[in-house]
């Protein structure tokens, strides 16, 4: 069982690593965006799938990262490399400042509040506050990454940068899963009263999930803005937040392969069926409904019981 999973993972890694060699530029861009969206989906999964917080404003953190890079580069002339840290830290700081006052809200109430944040965020972008955001058209002409006079400007560069970003994200997810922080999120998710009685602070670990999720989403946003060398508000609206939310639930909450499958189903498949135009979304609506009826825990549900082998004494 263990070997089969690692084999699939290895094959996927090989495929993803060699993918740019086999595809045209349009499909390469789809691949890059898939990697970026997968990072965002994982960061949404920390909040929704692990901590179990109904957060439907995640596109805001994604957008904050994208706009931080865009504004610092286009308006203030910072090098892209220099915008990386702010594009992670600013979404984290916003997550703390915005979410801390509402973190005690339960399920549906918190969901509505996070949608509210997302709507306000889009309003700020569209109204060109302080003349920084470029209004409804967004910002154009974002630079490429330059290191020691070398430009990482081709689509293949973009792909491998996104590939590394996803690798870092997966490393963080793995560390989280194997630490008391990831476990505390699961305990809160499964039974918050029991979790509290074990000494786990709901507030601390839910905020931890939000801040970590916002940081990863921000990094993905920065990558996204560089890939398209432009940002505009509609890429970060509530519909986009709903998509990230759905990716996690359709793929499988808290399941690494599940979230990857979810991203593939919700983002890559629509690209594959592009020739069917808008009719394809009808199929997706139906597919989402069927998944929830037939596989309510997602296409590839999470498996618990990841404990050190010295504790496994089951007679096989």
């Amino acid at each position: 069982m263990m070997n089969k999973t690692s084999l699939i993972a290895l094959l996927l890694l090989g495929f993803a690593g060699l993918y740019p060699l086999f595809v045209d530029s349009a499909w390469l861009a789809v691949g890059t965006t898939f990697l970026v969206f997968a990072c965002v989906a994982f960061s949404q999964d920390i909040i929704l799938g692990r901590a179990g917080v109904f957060h439907m404003g995640h596109a805001m953190f994604f957008g904050l990262g994208a706009y931080t890079t865009a504004i610092l580069n286009v308006q203030f002339g910072w090098a892209i490399l220099a915008t990386w840290i702010p594009s992670v830290v600013i979404p984290m700081a916003c997550a703390f400042a915005l979410v801390a006052p509402i973190i005690h809200l339960r399920g549906d109430y918190l969901l509505v509040a996070t949608i509210g944040f997302n709507i306000i965020f889009i309003q700020i972008l569209e109204n060109d506050v302080f003349g920084l955001t470029g209004g409804p058209n967004g910002l154009f002409g974002i630079d490429v990454v330059r290191v020691f006079g070398y430009d990482f400007s081709s689509q293949i560069h973009m792909y491998y940068m996104a590939f590394i970003l996803l690798g870092i994200t997966l490393f963080i997810m793995r560390s989280l899963d194997r630490s008391k922080f990831g476990r505390a999120m699961f305990y809160i998710h499964k039974d918050d009263i029991a979790a509290q009685s074990m000494g786990i602070s709901l507030r601390y670990y839910k905020l931890y999930a939000f801040i970590l999720g916002a940081g990863i989403a921000g990094a993905a946003g920065s990558m996204f803005s560089v890939q398209y060398s432009a940002v505009s508000p509609e890429a970060f609206n509530v519909t986009q937040s709903i998509m990230f939310f759905t990716i996690v639930l359709v793929g499988g909450s808290a399941s690494l392969p599940g979230v990857l499958i979810g991203t593939f189903v919700m983002f890559v498949l629509p690209e594959v069926f592009r020739e069917f135009e808008t009719a394809r979304y009808l199929v997706f609506g139906v597919a989402m409904i069927l998944t929830m009826i037939l596989r309510p825990r997602g296409i590839w549900p999470v498996k618990f019981g990841n404990i050190p082998s010295f504790l496994k004494k089951e007679a096989k």
């Binding site: 305990y187 499964k190 029991a194 786990i200 618990f304 004494k313």
Partner: protein, 260 residues
């Protein structure tokens, strides 16, 4: 400092005007097994919820080693060393038995905030140590065979053991058991009784609500009887058993079956 570990002083808890606990006082000595009995709906679980911070009583004080802990949030209460089990079992049922017990190690773990993102040598050491402790507890509670089994798939009696193992994993000073024998068969109750004695021998103070009279009378060193939220009797088991007020409270309510 007070000779009592826990002192409940004139505590009252109201629910929209209804008195759930009425001017209740009791004193628990360190190392004791303290029994609380009373008919259904007497307010016993409400009292436990007040001690563990799930409810805040309107009146009175709850002193832990002489300090008032009334109104402190449940997770901080656990941090003080007061751990509990639930009458209606509350396990993380999709998660494995080992992971359930690991939740008790949470407050003992020394992992730093950045260990959720990046492992460090100190993290690996801590993680190994905590899992070893979980292994020891699984041995003690005879759960090693079920290490990877989802807790929700196991029988009622085993689930009760997991709950106790989980609470004990946090190395409590006071262990609060809410009807630990409910739903257990005779053999399981005997096993449980021995287990509780062993836990006491480790130096853990135990407070317990129980309807199984045989068990509570044999284990408890001191008993408080509650009816309609108020104390009607207290004393050593032999005294309480003979108290006419206790007998009266139980007459006409001898259906002690708790629907859990």
């Amino acid at each position: 400092m007070s000779e009592y570990l826990l002192e409940i002083q004139n505590v009252s808890k109201l629910f929209s005007g209804l008195v759930a606990i009425d001017n209740l006082s009791m004193k628990v000595k360190k190392g004791q097994i303290y029994g609380i009995i009373g008919p259904n709906g007497a307010g016993k679980t409400t009292l436990f919820n007040c001690i563990t911070g799930i409810y805040t009583p309107e009146i009175g004080q709850i002193l832990w080693k002489g300090k008032d802990i009334k109104g402190i949030s449940p997770y901080k209460i656990a941090g003080l060393g007061i751990l509990r089990t639930f009458q209606t079992i509350r396990l993380f049922s999709e998660m494995s038995v080992a992971e359930n017990i690991m939740s008790g190690r949470h407050i003992k773990s020394k992992q730093r905030w950045y260990n959720g993102i990046i492992p460090t040598p100190a993290y690996f050491k801590d993680e190994k140590y905590q899992w070893t402790k979980v292994g020891e507890l699984m041995e003690f509670f005879n759960l090693s065979l079920y290490a990877t089994t989802p807790a929700g798939d196991l029988s009622y009696g085993i689930q009760r053991r997991i709950e106790m193992a989980r609470a004990l994993a946090a190395e409590p000073e006071l262990l609060i058991l809410d009807e630990p024998a409910a739903g257990l068969n005779e053999n399981e109750t005997i096993e449980l009784t021995e287990m509780i004695r062993k836990i006491q021998a480790m130096g853990v103070t135990i407070m317990m609500i129980e309807h199984d009279m045989e068990m509570v009378m044999s284990l408890s060193e001191y008993i408080t009887v509650i009816n309609f939220g108020a104390k009607i009797s207290e004393g050593v088991p032999s005294f309480v058993q003979a108290d006419p007020k206790v007998v009266e409270a139980y007459i006409g309510s001898d259906e002690e079956d708790e629907d859990a």
